[in-house]
Amino acid sequence: MWADVIVTLVKLGVVLAVMLTAVPIMVWVERRGSALIQDRLGPNRVGPFGLLQPVVDAVKLLTKEHLTPEGVNRFLYYLAPGIAMVVALSTFIVIPFGFDPGLELFGHPIHGFLVAPDLNIGVLYIFAVGSLGVYGIILAGWASNNKYALLGGIRSSAQMISYELAMTISVVSVLMTTGSFRLDRVVEHQSHAWLGFIPAWNVVPHILGAITFIIAVFAETNRLPFDLPEAEAELVAGYHTEYSSMKFAAFFMSEYINMVTASTLIVLLYFGGWSIGPVLAHPQGWGGALTSVAVFGLKVAFFLWFFVWVRWTLPRFRFDQLMAIGWKVMVPVAVLNFVLVGVMMALGWPV
């Protein structure tokens, strides 16, 4: 029993360390990437290629003065960034980061690259915890005692609830073909090939669902073109207008961590996780398992770049357009995908 506790704690530590390291790297990628797209240089002074810029930024944010505006509800004002951070960090325990061929360490099974291997609700856990994330933003907006912040918070709650619906319906069709909530089963289901060479990724039969899901996670993570809660031109900085120093950094980091979660989900649900067709479906030993982790990481890195790419390519929607797309396009398309997949399953097609 104690060995299991230690294994779980070590896994938690490793995952947390990886997530918190991913944030500064992503910030660097975002800033240099935006510079590349906009044909300018970007931060290039601190360290080689400006790689140490996030470190300097972190020191700046940590040493900045803590400002608390007048008339705020102190408890909720300080609680809000905490909620955002806790929710962002706690979704990771059900994500399998690689294949588990029954790995052992010092003669003890470590149950794969998954922090909570016995939780059979898998992706539902992510939605359950993730659905609490909206509170961080609403409370930040309300507790700040600032009308722009309040408008940002209210927009965010409307946006997240609307897009959660389309997102969940598209995921339901994936779960329907898999027959399990567990994300490792979802990958297992995609670990073979059609006609011997086309990887059987869910993105092919679930193409409408995949598109809906990817658009919806952009809205859920408040990234452009859906960053209405913090649209600078209209709302100053939206819900985090009144937040400075590390309190702002908590929102900033949670946005980037949510981006990582979203990318891992896109890869696991629609792009075969760590498998490339039958390749890496059942790798053996530590070497094979670590290769599967690396392949998974590469795929996730591509979608993280995709987030940056889209942000600096597309302009922002208007709020009424956002809601109209969410309810009149996304939800019907997701339902259509659901029905199509159901029909394909009933006809006995390999989906």
Binding site: L76, N120, L124, F127, A128, L132, V134
Partner: protein, 166 residues
């Protein structure tokens, strides 16, 4: 172990329920309710009903209470009157109704056989997705379909009310 986890969550749920009723700031009321649903989900999870726990959080904390909060913020209610102040008749009626409902629940539960042999995890493994889905499609098919119709009716009603202006 399980019984202690249950007791901790149950006590916290009761504490936050009280807070949800008596606190004077509506935002704190709603947030206490979020905590209540969170601890109820924790109790489900302790009993091995993972699926119900997740659904509890997704439906109540993630959707219903966000809408509550949304309405409170749009109406900008900063304070509510103290519990039972101002309208004694309504307060008395409300208290009487609450006691009646409580008595009804006690009366209904009284007839149930107690679970013997202590509470263990997985005691109610029927709370996972597969058995619930099977029951909804077989034993409880009619109530399930009826609820869908009721929900559609509510939806149509809301749209009809919203469109009447134009």
């Amino acid at each position: 172990m399980v019984i202690w986890a249950f007791l901790v969550f149950a006590v916290l749920a009761v504490v936050f329920t009280t807070l949800a009723v008596v606190h004077r700031s509506p935002v704190v009321n709603v947030l206490s309710l979020v905590m209540v649903f969170f601890f109820l989900a924790a109790i489900y999870a302790v009993l091995g009903m993972d699926f119900l726990a997740a659904i509890q959080l997704i439906v109540y904390s993630g959707a219903v209470l966000v809408l509550f909060l949304f309405v409170i913020m749009l109406l900008n209610i900063r304070r509510v009157e103290r519990f039972g102040s101002g309208r004694p008749v309504q307060a008395a009626l409300g208290a009487a109704a609450a006691i009646a409902v409580g008595a009804l629940v006690v009366w209904a539960v009284r007839g149930l056989a107690p679970v013997t042999g202590g509470v263990t995890p997985d005691a109610f493994a029927g709370g996972t997705a597969a058995p619930i889905g099977r029951m909804l499609m077989t034993t409880y098919l009619f109530p399930f379909e009826l609820i869908s119709v009721v929900l559609v009716a509510a939806l149509v009603g809301a749209i009809a009310l919203a469109r009447r202006e134009s």
